[in-house]
């Protein structure tokens, strides 16, 4: 066995066909120098582009990332949101030549839409990106590759089109599909050389129902309360069955309990793509009752299955905590270990490391035994680099609380398979973000605006698709000073709207992490000094210490879980008092933020969360 094992880098796949068909070109060949997709001719005409890439090398591989890039050199309008956008779909029937009347079938499953638009006559040409891991993974898992269709996301649009360079265009920028993949499975089994080494996609957590999620929280609390008798519970990825492993006979009785309670529902249930916007008048806006309602709940009653486990929750957590603190004198290669945590499904601790030497494997085996710890080899690009800091978060992944452009990042978000970042809407009134595409923005030139298809105002929020970050977002937030190199992990979103008296923390690029804030008012419409009105903000105050600053806009607002140090998202920073530095007797610091419940209800998808605990380095 050779170490360190390298993981495959990005691979650009060979393009085998690119063509388009449209009302104007009903039976084209494959030799045009351009490609066309969308709606034009006053809604009467349609264009669709068809692409095929050679994916034979991907069969059976784990797809880590896949990006389709098309060079948008001409379009009907410029901007981050133009029409319904252009959608990439997986084709599901064979074809060699397309005509307007004979086109292959497609599926909306794993389809990805990019609403941005570039190119003449109104703005510069630029790549448009589609993050199509889902489609490429379908092919890798055995679905036949009949290619990709590129079309208007909603073909009822009147005008919504882009033109792209084809491979035949002499000036470059051909359709490009870059893919990152790796082999899965055990690299080296546990044995004389030490503990097991494996590779695999570590963050592939199945989407859980609200009820199952609430029941798992309760089961986890039970394991934390009985660390000797129980092991860490989990939801089986295949069946969705909640499983609580027990170490002792007492534990078996505890684990067999039926878990009941109220699960909060409605996260992401407001679909912003549903048409039929309610455009209220200014008078109607003024009379609108602030949305301070709590999310709806559903009763659940879930019986956990009991499994026998060898190691208790307490013993495994103690190992995970200890490994995080070991240095190179105690564990060879400790510097290559970046994350450690319990893998409940396997009743063991997994450390994520960029290399796994025999010395490291044997040292872990000597310290903890052969089956208590395993090493997951990870791509160096997935590692939070130690030289990275809050104001220098430059890697493939970006966490919340980081400096970017004019503001601070909030919380990593997932819209389906598209990695995104939540931040403040007012940071992006006219310009795009250095992070990627501003997909949704609740803040317009005069303050809060309703998102298309939604009837409520949602404060000051933007959701940015992280097209400029290969890895996407990290489910963590920077803590400490503006130059801090430490982060906390994100456990999820708070299940209720903020209430007066709630305490919280803020973590911005300028003022760093400040805690001790108290909610003073909720659901308020606030008129900022420039006459922009932001609707439904939470207002907090702090009577001592450092205040927030304008550059902290977009930063994460959160509480910290006592039991594991993970943060629970409460909101996104919007504003504060003009020219505040330190609180004093006469003028406390004021802080205004958008409740995270508004993001949950307004934005598609959900916050990126992780079961990792402790402080990330």
């Amino acid at each position: 066995m050779h170490y360190p094992v390298r993981i495959d880098p990005w691979t650009s796949l060979a393009l085998s066909t690119d063509t388009f068909v449209s009302t104007d070109y009903p039976s084209p060949g494959n030799a045009s120098t351009w490609l066309h997709a969308g709606k034009f001719g006053n809604g009467a005409k349609v264009a669709r582009t068809y692409l095929k890439f050679d994916t034979t090398a991907l069969t059976g591989k784990a797809i880590l990332n896949a990006d389709l890039k098309l060079w948008s050199y001409k379009s009907n309008a410029c901007g981050m949101v133009v029409g319904s956008g252009i959608q990439v779909r997986r084709i599901t029937s064979a074809w060699t030549k397309v005509t307007l009347s004979a086109q292959p079938t497609t599926t909306a499953e794993d389809a990805i839409t990019n609403r941005a638009s570039y190119g003449a006559p109104n703005c510069k040409e630029e790549w448009l990106w589609w993050s199509i891991e889902g489609i490429v993974a379908d092919w890798a898992n055995g679905a036949p590759n009949y290619g990709l269709q590129v079309r208007a996301a909603n073909e009822s649009d009147v005008t919504n089109w882009r033109m792209f360079h084809s491979a035949e265009f002499a000036g470059g920028h051909p359709p490009t599909l870059v893919v990152k993949y790796e082999d899965q499975g055990i690299v080296a089994p546990a044995g004389a050389d030490g503990v097991e080494v494996f590779r695999g996609n570590g963050e592939d957590v199945p989407q859980m129902s609200d009820a199952l999620s609430a029941a798992l929280d309760k089961a986890t609390e039970a394991a934390e309360a009985n660390p000797v008798d129980l092991a860490q519970p989990y939801a089986d990825a295949e069946t969705g069955q909640l499983i609580t492993p027990a170490v002792t006979t007492t534990g078996q009785t505890l684990a067999a309990k039926t878990l009941t309670g109220q699960a909060v529902t409605g996260e992401g249930s407001d679909d912003p793509t549903v048409p039929g916007a309610v455009e209220a008048s200014e008078e109607g806006d003024a009379a609108e009752i602030p949305d301070t309602s709590a999310a709806t709940t559903v009763s659940y009653s879930i019986t956990s299955a009991v499994a026998n486990a060898k190691y208790s929750a307490g013993s495994l957590q103690a190992i995970a905590d200890e490994i995080a603190d070991l240095d190179a004198t105690q564990l060879p290669g400790a510097g290559d270990i970046h994350i450690s945590g319990v893998q409940p499904q396997r009743n063991r601790v997994v450390v994520e490391a960029t290399s796994a030497s025999v010395e490291m494997r044997q040292a872990l085996a000597a310290r903890y035994g052969l089956d208590k710890v395993a090493i997951r080899l990870i791509d160096p690009a997935q590692v939070p680099i130690t030289t990275e800091s809050r104001n220098n978060d430059i890697g493939d992944y970006i966490a919340g609380g980081a400096a970017y452009g004019p503001c601070t990042t909030g919380f990593a978000w997932m819209d389906g398979r598209t990695a995104a970042m939540l931040t403040a809407g007012h940071c992006h009134d006219s310009t795009g973000a250095s992070l990627g595409l501003v997909a949704y923005d609740t803040y317009g030139p005069k303050g809060t605006v309703k998102l298309s298809g939604q009837s409520k105002y949602r404060g000051d929020l933007a959701l940015i698709y992280l097209t400029q970050r290969k890895g996407g977002g990290s489910a963590s937030v920077w803590i400490g000073s503006p130059t801090s190199t430490q982060r906390r992990y994100v456990s999820g979103v708070y299940s209720e709207y903020a209430k007066v008296g709630d305490r919280y923390c803020v973590s911005g690029r300028v003022s760093g992490e400040t805690c001790g804030w108290t909610v003073k008012e909720v659901g308020k419409s606030v008129r900022y000094g420039n006459s922009e009105t932001v609707r439904y903000l939470v207002i907090g105050e702090k009577s001592s210490g450092t205040c927030t600053q304008p550059g902290d806009s977009g930063s994460p607002v959160y509480t910290i879980r006592q039991q594991d140090g993970r943060v629970v998202a409460r909101g996104i920073t919007s504003g504060g008092r003009r020219d505040q530095t330190e609180a004093n007797f006469f003028l406390p610091c004021r802080h205004l933020f958008t409740d995270i419940r508004h993001a949950v209800n307004a934005m598609p998808g959900s916050i990126k969360r992780t079961t990792q605990t402790g402080i990330a380095r």
Partner: protein, 128 residues
Amino acid sequence: MKCHRSSALRLAMVATLTGLLTAGCVHSERLAVITEAVISPDERTVSVTFTGDRIDGKVCTAVDDTEVTETAQRVTIGIHLANVCEGSPTELVAGTGVEQTVQIHLTAPLGDRVVEMPDGQSITIRRP
């Protein structure tokens, strides 16, 4: 050195109630967060970049004063900011950050000395 409005206001209020005010103007309490320092080829000029405030489209922070302390091991750079925008300190605003730069001159070449803010936070050095 300019005294910015809100400091003066706060100090005046404190003075009225406590009678402890002895000077008309003091350092602004706001220290800039320095994001990067670019060193010139002769190692004596440092271009310091920090995050200022932009409110209603206006840059509202200006360098009020700089303090540089040099020892054999370290260089401490403090950038004190003043507010240069009109507006009541009780007014609520939603601003953003804005990158601002100021040049600092050293009495000796920087060499391998570390560069810090007055509160001990390290400053990232770049040599172009």
